[in-house]
Symmetry: C2
Subunit: 248 residues, 2 copies
């Protein structure tokens, strides 16, 4: 019959207040936040309380600091920050390799099509650069995996759609461990990826949305075959590789 009366600790309200101003763009990106002491004065709370609020915003990616800097600045969540949080969430929800694959299958052809329609020359150059890096660096397995991710990222960027660019990252991140296994165990994997990238890049260059979409669908389907050939069960749970990022 009655709603629970809402109570929120001060650190929460402070963080919400700042967050709202950022989202309303009253605090512009790149702008420096007032100092902790000043914020404490304005909100009429203790500096410790302000600091707790800042930590929340910091981990949301709304605040960040310049390299080696001290002050906090208003930023927007980077792709890495978004990707980290999302892939972490996927992992905790016990997403399996097949789930990630399915999502890629759904979303990547659309990204490729959009990229083909709207790619700029600069974006095309980045795409080709990523592709060339993959072709040339035969040596290291991990480099190769990173280059594949970079190619997809470049496509997301080329689509000119921030939603695509942001969605791309976490999916690829989760794919990387299993992709590494595929490259290790399936001899023809590299050349298949290489040729798929070539076709894709050509379609994007020619602004051929239909072709890009088709090739991408084929490319993704190839990954699935890769899993089978490499003997990776599709029901393997993905794991966020960056778990052990902590400095000991």
């Amino acid at each position: 019959m009655f709603e629970p009366l809402g109570y929120a600790p001060a650190y929460w309200r402070v963080s919400e207040a700042i967050r709202a101003r950022i989202l309303r763009r009253e605090l512009a990106e790149g702008e420096a936040l007032p100092t902790e002491t000043e914020l404490a004065r304005q909100f009429e709370v203790n500096r410790s309380t302000v600091r707790e609020a800042l930590r929340k915003l910091e981990s949301n990616g709304l605040l960040g600091r310049r390299r080696g800097g001290k002050r906090l600045y208003v930023t927007r969540p980077t792709r890495e920050a978004v990707g980290g949080g999302l892939s972490q969430a996927f992992a905790l929800h016990r997403a399996r390799v097949v789930d990630v694959w399915e999502a890629l299958q759904a979303v990547q052809p659309g990204i490729a099509a959009a990229a083909a329609e709207r790619r700029s020359d600069a974006a095309l150059a980045l795409l080709d650069a990523a592709r060339r890096r993959f072709s040339e660096r035969k040596a290291d397995r991990d480099d190769a995996v990173r280059d594949v991710a970079a190619f997809f990222d470049a496509l997301g960027e080329a689509s000119g759609n921030p939603v695509f660019a942001l969605l791309n990252e976490p999916l690829l991140r989760l794919l990387q461990p299993s992709l590494a296994q595929i490259i290790d165990r399936v001899p023809q994997a590299r050349s298949r990826i290489e040729s798929a990238q070539k076709q894709l890049a050509a379609a994007v260059r020619a602004r051929d949305a239909e072709g890009a979409s088709t090739w991408m669908a084929r490319h993704i389907r190839d990954f699935r075959r890769g899993y089978e050939v490499a003997g990776i069960p599709l029901s393997t749970e993905v794991s966020d590789g960056l778990v052990a990022a902590g400095v000991s």
Copy 2:
């Protein structure tokens, strides 16, 4: 030539340490975290430092507390938490209505197909329930919008793919304001949505993946027409409606 020497403040290292244990599932979901004092003792830092670390994890959705509770428990990020963070990121990246729409167009048909293939009877019931709610509650505009979102959510859930379920939420959240305008300004919007949902539900019930995908694609395309008829420019920037959630 030289890498910057990495330094990380204590609150960061504490938060990473706890996060790693959660992701490695050494701290199981639902388990209570040690008290702040105990954590401070173990990490050999001050309680204030521990609290800053906890705030970070809390806003990542890795820690939460039971309603009105005091202790913190290990949780996994809820759909709402993930959706909130993501839609916030999209908004700050100045995603436009057309960008969100394009992403929906790419991803929803795949979700519908997966849902049709793998839906359980329970999931189907939820889907029908959401559909029925939308049909019956003609009165309130905001209710209707929520019901549409609930229908999509039910589909994501029915797909049995946590990646889909998590991706669904933020996109829909960003769609809601503009969807409300469509419902207000386009008289036939309700009935078109209603019939699309009907076809979709039928396809899902019949486990007809092909049909579900096709109908979904049509449904999403319809939204675009809705924007045009309602006079909403496709280049409108989306805004995260929950900005003003703060309690004053």
